[in-house]
Amino acid sequence: MPTLWGYSISAARSIDYDKNDQSFLRRLAHSCPSSKLCIGCGGCTAACSAGNLTEFNIRQLQMLVKRGETRETAEQLHKCMLCGKCLLVCPRGVDTRKMILSMKRFLREHDQ
């Protein structure tokens, strides 16, 4: 946002893991232990119905959550149609449906 200076101070793009709230990622690891098995292959995103039509990237979003970054997940997660194709694809057996539902629940609780 320009100010009377003609510019504003750029916000850092980097993930500051020390400062991020880690309660969300701990709860995800606890409620959906298989989510820890992700190796970032992207099979889920390639298969994703929502991801083929929108910016939604479930592989990236769950990784952001694991780094304590929840904002984008909160904005994007509603795009998931819970079709379950990612569950069929995942080579590591991540229970993606459970993972997504867990994330939705936390975000809902967080809002309240």
Binding site: S14, I15, D16, K36, Q60, K66
Partner: protein, 343 residues
């Protein structure tokens, strides 16, 4: 007939035992004061968590054979072909050993982490190498290293490997699985610590390795971030601040570590080049010894009568090193019995 084996690590020891078993006499040359090589610096081995000291002991016991003469504290300086098919190996203690074949089992050296200046090894107090961590395991000293147990530990893969900046293009290939193994060991000692591995690719090439990686994630709660460390710095509390890109997320990431472990890679041992050079055996650009053929001529070199075993030809795990040593023993026997005098 006599064979001179240079290097008393796992490869040299195993080959000596096998060749003695075939009825040959063997001179085994080791520059340190005991056999075992780099294995002496390790605590436990992947994938079965075998005791490294136990394996060294086993290798050592097998050298108690009337056909094997062990020369410790002796460094091989030069090889010369004194007569066709006869080799003379000069040692640092002035002894000259004679053999009808020479086996180079000179192994590797651990990358000197000081060369990656930006990682602060030797400057920042809480930066150690994977080899030093093994020592901490052996001495049970990790929990009290800095007064209190570390809360967050990071393993940095590929230190000295896959890095043009320090002139090493090659992958040392064992560091990934070593990091996984060490992370698990740390978890067993410190149940509360947060553990990260910063990797470029997870190269889980051996039997049981990928399974171990999987177990590390699920059961041992070890977190893996794909990204190469750009630099580390020490903060006012003496902790290490690291910068990486989390490449799977697509954002730079920074975090503070209480302990940073550098997964140091493997480089050709200094002796390999000198000895190979004295008999015109060619090297790869990275300094490891080039075999006669990468598929059909392993253990053989361009020079008939000069053989190789183990990690003097490339980074190699123990399983492959011991297999390679047995294969070398067979190749040497074949050469000496005249059934395979290769040109």
């Amino acid at each position: 007939m006599n064979i001179v084996i240079i290097g008393g690590g796992p490869a040299g020891s195993e080959a000596a035992y096998r060749l003695a078993g075939e009825g040959y006499t063997v001179d085994l040359v080791e520059k340190e004061n005991s056999i075992g090589g780099n294995l002496n610096n390790w605590h436990q081995l992947f994938p079965d968590r075998k005791s490294a000291a136990g394996l060294v002991k086993e290798l050592q016991q097998r050298l108690n054979h009337p056909g094997i003469t062990l020369h410790i504290d002796a460094e091989a300086r030069e090889i010369a072909e004194s007569a066709p098919g006869k080799f003379a190996v000069k040692l640092s203690n002035k002894t000259v050993l004679h053999g009808s074949a020479v086996l180079l089992a000179t192994g590797y050296k651990v990358f000197d982490a000081k060369r990656k200046e930006e990682y602060g090894y030797g400057i920042y107090k809480r930066v150690i190498t994977s080899a030093e961590l093994e020592n901490l395991f052996t001495n049970r000293a990790l929990a009290t290293l800095y007064g209190e147990a570390p809360k967050r530990i990071g393993f940095i893969h590929c230190v000295g490997s896959r890095d043009e900046k320090i002139c090493n293009y090659h992958c040392s290939k064992l560091c990934c699985v070593t990091a996984v193994k060490q992370a698990i060991e740390v978890r067993e000692m410190l149940p509360e610590v947060e553990i990260f591995c910063f990797y470029m690719d997870m190269r889980m090439f051996g039997p049981g390795y990928e399974e171990m990686y999987r177990e590390a994630q699920e059961r041992y709660d070890i977190k893996f971030i794909r990204g190469r460390l750009s630099e580390a710095a020490e903060n006012i509390h003496g902790q290490v601040v690291v910068k990486v890109e989390d490449t799977l997320v697509g954002k730079p990431l920074r975090m503070t570590l209480d302990l940073m472990v550098l997964m140091v890679g493997m480089e050709a041992a200094d002796g390999s080049g000198k000895l190979a050079g004295s008999v015109q055996v060619p090297l790869y650009p990275n300094g490891f010894i080039r075999p006669a053929d990468p598929h059909t001529g392993t253990n053989l070199t361009a020079r008939p009568g000069i053989f190789t075993a183990g990690s003097c030809t490339s980074p190699m795990n123990l399983t492959d090193t011991l297999t390679d040593a047995r294969s070398a023993a067979w190749q040497i026997k074949k050469w000496l019995t005249g059934s395979d005098k290769h040109a």
